[in-house]
C-alpha cells in the first residue's frame, strides 16, 4: 500500500529500499529551515552607546555608519533638538541632539562623542551620542519591557525594550519614534 502524507508531499510511504533515507533527509531539511527562521526571529543586533553615562542602543539595522564627532554647523531658526548639519561625503545631513530629545542635560561633547547616521523609512539623520560602546548580537527574548521606573520621556522612545550589557541596563531606543517626534 502506498499513501501520500497529507500536506508534505515529499514523503511517500512505500516499501522501496531508500524510504528511510528520504524521510531522514526531509526531517533534516525541515529542521534546518526551522532553525534559520528561529535564528532570524530570535536574534537582534544592537549598537550600544552612552548618554550621560547610561547605556542605550539602536537596532543596528537602522544604523548606517558611525562618524567621529567633528564640526557641526549650527543652523539658525531651529529648535535645540536640531544640533546642526554636517557634510557627509558631499551630502548634507541633520544632526539631532538626543540628550535634548530625551530631556537630559547636554554635556560638552568629548573626543569619544560619535555621530550615529541612522535611517528609517527613507528618512536619514545623524544622532549625536556621548560614545559608542559596542555592537552586540543578543537573543530577542533577552529584551524585556522597559522598567516602570524608567524616565517617562525615555520610555516613550524605548519601544525596543531593555536588556543587559554585562551588568549594565541597556535601553533600546526606536529610531523611527525619534524621527517621528521631529517630523510630525
Amino acid at each position: 500500500m502506498t499513501r501520500s502524507e497529507s500536506g508534505g508531499g515529499d514523503v511517500m510511504e512505500s516499501m522501496d529500499a531508500d524510504r528511510s533515507d528520504r524521510i531522514l533527509a526531509a526531517v533534516k531539511r525541515r529542521k534546518a529551515e526551522a532553525a534559520v527562521v528561529q535564528a532570524e526571529e530570535a536574534m537582534v543586533d544592537l549598537v550600544i552607546f552612552t548618554l550621560n553615562r547610561d547605556f542605550y542602543a539602536f537596532d543596528s539595522g537602522d544604523v548606517k555608519e558611525l562618524l567621529p564627532y567633528g564640526t557641526i554647523t549650527f543652523v539658525p531658526g531651529c529648535p535645540d533638538i536640531i544640533e546642526g548639519v554636517i557634510n557627509v561625503r558631499g551630502d548634507i545631513e541633520s544632526v539631532l541632539n538626543l540628550h535634548r530629545i530625551l530631556a537630559m542635560t547636554f554635556p560638552e561633547p568629548t573626543k569619544d562623542a560619535r555621530i550615529v547616521i541612522a535611517s528609517r523609512s527613507g528618512i536619514r539623520s545623524g544622532i549625536l551620542v556621548d560614545s559608542v560602546v559596542d555592537v552586540v548580537n543578543v537573543a530577542a527574548d533577552r529584551l524585556k519591557r522597559p522598567m516602570s521606573t524608567l524616565d517617562k520621556t525615555v520610555r516613550e522612545y524605548a519601544v525596543g525594550g531593555e536588556t543587559f550589557y554585562g551588568d549594565r541596563y541597556v535601553t533600546v531606543l526606536d529610531v523611527g519614534k525619534i524621527f517621528d517626534r521631529i517630523a510630525l
Partner: protein, 131 residues
Amino acid sequence: MSATGPVVQIRILIFRVADARFGVDMVQIAEMLDLAEAGRRRTPLGWFNRFFRPDKEIPYRSPVALALRRSGESPAIVVDQPEAIDVPVAIEAIHPMPPLFRAACAESPVWGAVLEKTGRIILLVDFFKLI
C-alpha cells in the same frame, strides 16, 4: 540663454557670524554700508544673530549693514566679516536641507547649503524671511 530663461546660477555674498558661514543671494542686497554711514542715514538696523538668538550676545569683529532691495521700509541686516561678494553658485551645486530640518525648522531663514572645496558648509539664508 535669454534673460527670462531658467535660473542656472545665483550670485551670493558670503559672510560669517560667530563660527558659521552664510551666503545671501545678491538679488536681495541693494547696497553694503558701514555702520557709521548707516547711522548718518538713520537706517534702521537688524543684527543678524538677534533674529534667531535674541538672548545671546555674539561679538561682531567687522560688522557691515546690508540694505535690502525691497519696497517699503525694512531694516538693513548687520552681518559680520563679509568674505566674498558676487560669488557664482550653480543651481546644481545647491543642496536642499535635510528632511528633518525642513520638518523641524520651518521658521528658519536657511533654505539650502553649498559646500566649499574644503568641505565646509555655507548656509544659504533668505533675508526676506528674517524680517
